[in-house]
Symmetry: C2
Subunit: 162 residues, 2 copies
Protein backbone atom coordinates (compact mmCIF):
# COMPACT_ATOMS: atom_id res chain seq x y z
CA UNK A 1 0.00 0.00 0.00
CA UNK A 2 1.50 3.30 -1.08
CA UNK A 3 0.35 6.89 -0.96
CA UNK A 4 1.38 9.50 -3.49
CA UNK A 5 1.67 13.15 -2.68
CA UNK A 6 2.32 16.08 -4.97
CA UNK A 7 3.81 19.40 -3.78
CA UNK A 8 1.52 22.43 -3.44
CA UNK A 9 4.48 24.81 -3.21
CA UNK A 10 8.16 25.32 -2.41
CA UNK A 11 9.81 26.65 0.75
CA UNK A 12 12.68 29.12 0.40
CA UNK A 13 15.13 29.56 3.28
CA UNK A 14 18.76 30.73 3.72
CA UNK A 15 19.86 27.13 4.35
CA UNK A 16 21.45 25.41 1.39
CA UNK A 17 23.44 22.73 3.19
CA UNK A 18 22.16 20.13 5.63
CA UNK A 19 24.71 21.13 8.27
CA UNK A 20 23.43 24.73 8.29
CA UNK A 21 19.90 24.14 9.46
CA UNK A 22 18.76 24.78 13.03
CA UNK A 23 18.33 21.98 15.51
CA UNK A 24 15.22 23.27 17.24
CA UNK A 25 12.65 26.01 16.62
CA UNK A 26 14.65 28.19 19.01
CA UNK A 27 17.64 27.70 16.71
CA UNK A 28 15.72 29.06 13.75
CA UNK A 29 14.14 31.87 15.78
CA UNK A 30 13.93 35.02 13.74
CA UNK A 31 15.35 33.46 10.59
CA UNK A 32 13.20 34.48 7.66
CA UNK A 33 12.00 32.49 4.71
CA UNK A 34 9.18 32.44 2.19
CA UNK A 35 6.67 29.88 1.04
CA UNK A 36 5.74 30.01 -2.62
CA UNK A 37 2.31 28.44 -3.00
CA UNK A 38 1.62 27.31 -6.55
CA UNK A 39 -0.95 29.45 -8.31
CA UNK A 40 -3.64 26.80 -8.57
CA UNK A 41 -3.78 26.42 -4.76
CA UNK A 42 -3.80 30.12 -3.82
CA UNK A 43 -7.56 30.43 -3.27
CA UNK A 44 -7.03 28.03 -0.33
CA UNK A 45 -4.90 30.68 1.44
CA UNK A 46 -7.94 32.87 2.23
CA UNK A 47 -8.18 33.64 5.97
CA UNK A 48 -4.76 32.20 6.72
CA UNK A 49 -3.35 35.68 7.42
CA UNK A 50 -5.31 35.82 10.67
CA UNK A 51 -3.04 33.20 12.21
CA UNK A 52 0.21 34.15 13.90
CA UNK A 53 1.62 30.64 13.43
CA UNK A 54 1.08 27.98 10.79
CA UNK A 55 2.11 24.36 10.50
CA UNK A 56 4.02 23.39 7.36
CA UNK A 57 4.22 19.77 6.24
CA UNK A 58 7.01 19.21 3.77
CA UNK A 59 9.37 16.69 2.26
CA UNK A 60 12.91 16.11 3.54
CA UNK A 61 13.92 15.95 -0.09
CA UNK A 62 17.63 15.59 0.63
CA UNK A 63 17.03 12.60 2.88
CA UNK A 64 19.21 9.70 1.85
CA UNK A 65 18.15 6.28 3.11
CA UNK A 66 17.86 5.46 6.79
CA UNK A 67 18.87 3.11 9.57
CA UNK A 68 16.48 2.11 12.37
CA UNK A 69 18.86 3.22 15.09
CA UNK A 70 21.18 6.21 14.99
CA UNK A 71 23.77 8.01 17.05
CA UNK A 72 22.50 11.59 16.89
CA UNK A 73 25.09 14.15 15.87
CA UNK A 74 26.92 15.57 18.93
CA UNK A 75 25.46 12.82 21.11
CA UNK A 76 27.04 9.56 22.16
CA UNK A 77 24.36 6.87 22.58
CA UNK A 78 22.53 4.84 19.96
CA UNK A 79 18.86 5.87 19.85
CA UNK A 80 15.81 4.49 18.10
CA UNK A 81 15.18 6.49 14.93
CA UNK A 82 11.59 7.38 15.92
CA UNK A 83 12.93 8.87 19.18
CA UNK A 84 14.99 11.33 17.11
CA UNK A 85 14.41 14.06 14.55
CA UNK A 86 16.95 12.62 12.15
CA UNK A 87 16.08 13.64 8.59
CA UNK A 88 16.80 10.11 7.31
CA UNK A 89 13.51 8.26 7.92
CA UNK A 90 11.36 5.63 6.20
CA UNK A 91 8.97 8.41 5.17
CA UNK A 92 11.01 11.62 5.11
CA UNK A 93 8.30 14.10 6.09
CA UNK A 94 9.07 17.27 8.04
CA UNK A 95 6.63 19.17 10.25
CA UNK A 96 7.42 22.73 11.35
CA UNK A 97 5.45 25.41 13.14
CA UNK A 98 6.55 28.80 11.85
CA UNK A 99 5.53 32.38 12.48
CA UNK A 100 3.51 33.97 9.67
CA UNK A 101 4.45 37.60 9.03
CA UNK A 102 2.27 38.24 6.00
CA UNK A 103 0.95 36.98 2.68
CA UNK A 104 1.14 38.68 -0.69
CA UNK A 105 0.16 37.10 -3.98
CA UNK A 106 0.71 33.51 -2.97
CA UNK A 107 3.96 34.29 -1.18
CA UNK A 108 3.96 33.65 2.56
CA UNK A 109 6.55 35.53 4.60
CA UNK A 110 7.57 33.30 7.48
CA UNK A 111 10.02 33.35 10.39
CA UNK A 112 11.65 30.69 12.57
CA UNK A 113 12.45 28.49 9.58
CA UNK A 114 14.38 25.27 10.01
CA UNK A 115 14.21 23.56 6.64
CA UNK A 116 16.49 23.46 3.63
CA UNK A 117 15.99 25.85 0.75
CA UNK A 118 13.83 24.29 -1.96
CA UNK A 119 11.95 21.91 0.32
CA UNK A 120 8.73 20.72 -1.36
CA UNK A 121 5.62 21.77 0.56
CA UNK A 122 2.78 19.25 0.98
CA UNK A 123 0.30 20.99 3.26
CA UNK A 124 -0.39 24.07 5.36
CA UNK A 125 -2.55 23.96 8.49
CA UNK A 126 -3.54 26.71 10.89
CA UNK A 127 -1.74 26.26 14.17
CA UNK A 128 -3.36 26.59 17.56
CA UNK A 129 -1.66 25.78 20.86
CA UNK A 130 -2.06 22.15 21.80
CA UNK A 131 -1.39 22.03 25.50
CA UNK A 132 -2.26 23.84 28.66
CA UNK A 133 0.38 25.20 30.99
CA UNK A 134 -0.42 22.49 33.50
CA UNK A 135 0.57 19.61 31.24
CA UNK A 136 3.58 17.69 32.33
CA UNK A 137 5.98 17.01 29.48
CA UNK A 138 8.84 14.53 29.49
CA UNK A 139 11.45 14.60 26.77
CA UNK A 140 13.10 11.23 27.33
CA UNK A 141 16.73 10.84 26.33
CA UNK A 142 17.00 14.50 25.47
CA UNK A 143 16.55 15.30 29.14
CA UNK A 144 18.83 12.51 30.27
CA UNK A 145 21.69 13.91 28.28
CA UNK A 146 20.89 17.26 29.83
CA UNK A 147 20.74 19.11 26.59
CA UNK A 148 17.58 20.06 24.80
CA UNK A 149 19.37 21.58 21.87
CA UNK A 150 17.90 25.01 22.39
CA UNK A 151 19.54 27.41 20.01
CA UNK A 152 22.15 24.94 18.84
CA UNK A 153 22.58 23.78 15.32
CA UNK A 154 23.19 20.61 13.42
CA UNK A 155 22.41 18.02 16.04
CA UNK A 156 20.67 15.38 13.99
CA UNK A 157 18.98 13.89 17.03
CA UNK A 158 17.11 17.06 17.72
CA UNK A 159 16.60 18.27 14.23
CA UNK A 160 13.20 19.80 13.81
CA UNK A 161 13.27 18.76 10.19
CA UNK A 162 13.02 15.04 10.75
CA UNK B 1 7.03 15.70 -9.14
CA UNK B 2 5.49 13.12 -6.82
CA UNK B 3 6.54 11.56 -3.55
CA UNK B 4 5.56 8.05 -2.50
CA UNK B 5 5.15 7.02 1.10
CA UNK B 6 4.51 3.61 2.56
CA UNK B 7 2.88 3.05 5.98
CA UNK B 8 5.07 1.99 8.90
CA UNK B 9 2.05 0.96 10.97
CA UNK B 10 -1.67 1.33 11.64
CA UNK B 11 -3.50 3.45 14.22
CA UNK B 12 -6.41 1.90 16.11
CA UNK B 13 -9.01 4.14 17.75
CA UNK B 14 -12.65 3.90 18.82
CA UNK B 15 -13.70 6.14 15.91
CA UNK B 16 -15.13 4.29 12.95
CA UNK B 17 -17.12 7.09 11.32
CA UNK B 18 -15.86 10.49 10.23
CA UNK B 19 -18.54 12.29 12.23
CA UNK B 20 -17.37 10.64 15.47
CA UNK B 21 -13.89 12.06 15.65
CA UNK B 22 -12.93 14.93 17.95
CA UNK B 23 -12.58 18.46 16.67
CA UNK B 24 -9.56 19.44 18.74
CA UNK B 25 -7.04 17.66 20.95
CA UNK B 26 -9.18 18.68 23.92
CA UNK B 27 -12.06 16.78 22.29
CA UNK B 28 -10.06 13.58 22.20
CA UNK B 29 -8.64 14.11 25.69
CA UNK B 30 -8.38 10.83 27.54
CA UNK B 31 -9.64 8.74 24.62
CA UNK B 32 -7.40 5.74 24.23
CA UNK B 33 -6.01 4.10 21.15
CA UNK B 34 -3.08 2.00 20.03
CA UNK B 35 -0.46 2.25 17.35
CA UNK B 36 0.63 -1.00 15.78
CA UNK B 37 4.11 -0.52 14.35
CA UNK B 38 4.98 -3.08 11.71
CA UNK B 39 7.58 -5.58 12.89
CA UNK B 40 10.35 -4.49 10.56
CA UNK B 41 10.33 -0.96 12.03
CA UNK B 42 10.22 -1.87 15.73
CA UNK B 43 13.95 -1.42 16.44
CA UNK B 44 13.36 2.28 15.69
CA UNK B 45 11.08 2.53 18.78
CA UNK B 46 14.01 2.28 21.20
CA UNK B 47 14.08 5.22 23.66
CA UNK B 48 10.65 6.46 22.58
CA UNK B 49 9.13 5.40 25.91
CA UNK B 50 10.96 8.24 27.66
CA UNK B 51 8.69 10.78 25.97
CA UNK B 52 5.33 11.74 27.46
CA UNK B 53 4.03 12.94 24.09
CA UNK B 54 4.76 11.89 20.53
CA UNK B 55 3.82 13.30 17.15
CA UNK B 56 2.09 10.96 14.74
CA UNK B 57 2.03 11.67 11.01
CA UNK B 58 -0.65 9.69 9.25
CA UNK B 59 -2.88 9.50 6.19
CA UNK B 60 -6.44 10.80 6.14
CA UNK B 61 -7.30 7.67 4.23
CA UNK B 62 -11.04 8.36 4.07
CA UNK B 63 -10.47 11.79 2.57
CA UNK B 64 -12.48 12.19 -0.58
CA UNK B 65 -11.37 14.94 -2.94
CA UNK B 66 -11.24 18.58 -1.92
CA UNK B 67 -12.31 22.11 -2.73
CA UNK B 68 -10.01 25.11 -2.20
CA UNK B 69 -12.54 26.91 -0.04
CA UNK B 70 -14.93 25.36 2.44
CA UNK B 71 -17.65 26.26 4.89
CA UNK B 72 -16.48 24.45 8.00
CA UNK B 73 -19.10 22.28 9.64
CA UNK B 74 -21.09 24.25 12.26
CA UNK B 75 -19.67 27.50 10.95
CA UNK B 76 -21.22 29.93 8.51
CA UNK B 77 -18.47 31.63 6.48
CA UNK B 78 -16.46 30.35 3.53
CA UNK B 79 -12.82 29.85 4.55
CA UNK B 80 -9.65 29.05 2.65
CA UNK B 81 -8.94 25.33 2.94
CA UNK B 82 -5.42 25.88 4.35
CA UNK B 83 -6.94 28.00 7.14
CA UNK B 84 -8.99 24.98 8.22
CA UNK B 85 -8.37 21.46 9.47
CA UNK B 86 -10.75 19.95 6.94
CA UNK B 87 -9.76 16.35 6.19
CA UNK B 88 -10.32 16.86 2.46
CA UNK B 89 -7.03 18.38 1.26
CA UNK B 90 -4.74 18.16 -1.78
CA UNK B 91 -2.37 15.99 0.30
CA UNK B 92 -4.49 14.36 3.01
CA UNK B 93 -1.89 14.12 5.77
CA UNK B 94 -2.83 14.31 9.45
CA UNK B 95 -0.54 15.43 12.27
CA UNK B 96 -1.47 14.68 15.90
CA UNK B 97 0.36 15.06 19.18
CA UNK B 98 -0.78 12.28 21.52
CA UNK B 99 0.12 11.17 25.01
CA UNK B 100 2.22 8.00 25.17
CA UNK B 101 1.21 5.69 28.03
CA UNK B 102 3.52 2.78 27.26
CA UNK B 103 5.00 0.49 24.63
CA UNK B 104 4.90 -3.29 24.52
CA UNK B 105 6.08 -5.39 21.63
CA UNK B 106 5.59 -2.82 18.94
CA UNK B 107 2.24 -1.71 20.31
CA UNK B 108 2.08 1.88 21.52
CA UNK B 109 -0.65 2.72 24.01
CA UNK B 110 -1.73 6.28 23.37
CA UNK B 111 -4.28 8.75 24.67
CA UNK B 112 -5.96 11.89 23.29
CA UNK B 113 -6.56 10.29 19.91
CA UNK B 114 -8.44 12.14 17.19
CA UNK B 115 -8.05 9.98 14.10
CA UNK B 116 -10.20 7.32 12.48
CA UNK B 117 -9.64 3.66 13.25
CA UNK B 118 -7.34 2.07 10.70
CA UNK B 119 -5.49 5.25 9.75
CA UNK B 120 -2.18 4.41 8.05
CA UNK B 121 0.83 5.69 10.02
CA UNK B 122 3.71 7.34 8.13
CA UNK B 123 6.04 8.58 10.85
CA UNK B 124 6.56 9.00 14.59
CA UNK B 125 8.59 11.85 16.07
CA UNK B 126 9.40 12.70 19.67
CA UNK B 127 7.48 15.76 20.76
CA UNK B 128 8.95 18.63 22.69
CA UNK B 129 7.12 21.87 23.47
CA UNK B 130 7.60 24.45 20.75
CA UNK B 131 6.78 27.76 22.36
CA UNK B 132 7.48 29.71 25.47
CA UNK B 133 4.69 31.02 27.63
CA UNK B 134 5.39 34.55 26.49
CA UNK B 135 4.59 33.87 22.83
CA UNK B 136 1.59 35.67 21.52
CA UNK B 137 -0.65 33.42 19.47
CA UNK B 138 -3.45 34.52 17.17
CA UNK B 139 -5.94 32.00 15.84
CA UNK B 140 -7.51 34.03 13.03
CA UNK B 141 -11.08 33.25 12.05
CA UNK B 142 -11.43 30.76 14.87
CA UNK B 143 -11.17 33.62 17.33
CA UNK B 144 -13.40 35.89 15.29
CA UNK B 145 -16.21 33.42 15.44
CA UNK B 146 -15.61 33.21 19.17
CA UNK B 147 -15.36 29.45 19.27
CA UNK B 148 -12.16 27.54 19.42
CA UNK B 149 -13.81 24.18 19.24
CA UNK B 150 -12.49 23.01 22.56
CA UNK B 151 -14.08 19.72 23.45
CA UNK B 152 -16.58 19.83 20.63
CA UNK B 153 -16.83 17.23 17.91
CA UNK B 154 -17.24 17.06 14.19
CA UNK B 155 -16.56 20.62 13.21
CA UNK B 156 -14.61 20.11 10.02
CA UNK B 157 -13.07 23.57 10.23
CA UNK B 158 -11.33 22.69 13.45
CA UNK B 159 -10.66 19.06 12.86
CA UNK B 160 -7.28 18.06 14.17
CA UNK B 161 -7.20 15.38 11.53
CA UNK B 162 -6.94 17.65 8.55
Amino acid sequence: MEFEFEPIGIIHTPFTERGDTPVQPAGGAGIQGTVEVFEEYRPALKDLDGFSHIMLIWVLHRSDGYTLQVVPHRHSEIRGLFATRSPNRPNPIGVSVVRLDGIEQGLLHIRDVDMLDGSPLLDIKPWVPEFNDGDEIRAGWLEEEGRTGKGRRSSAGLRRKG
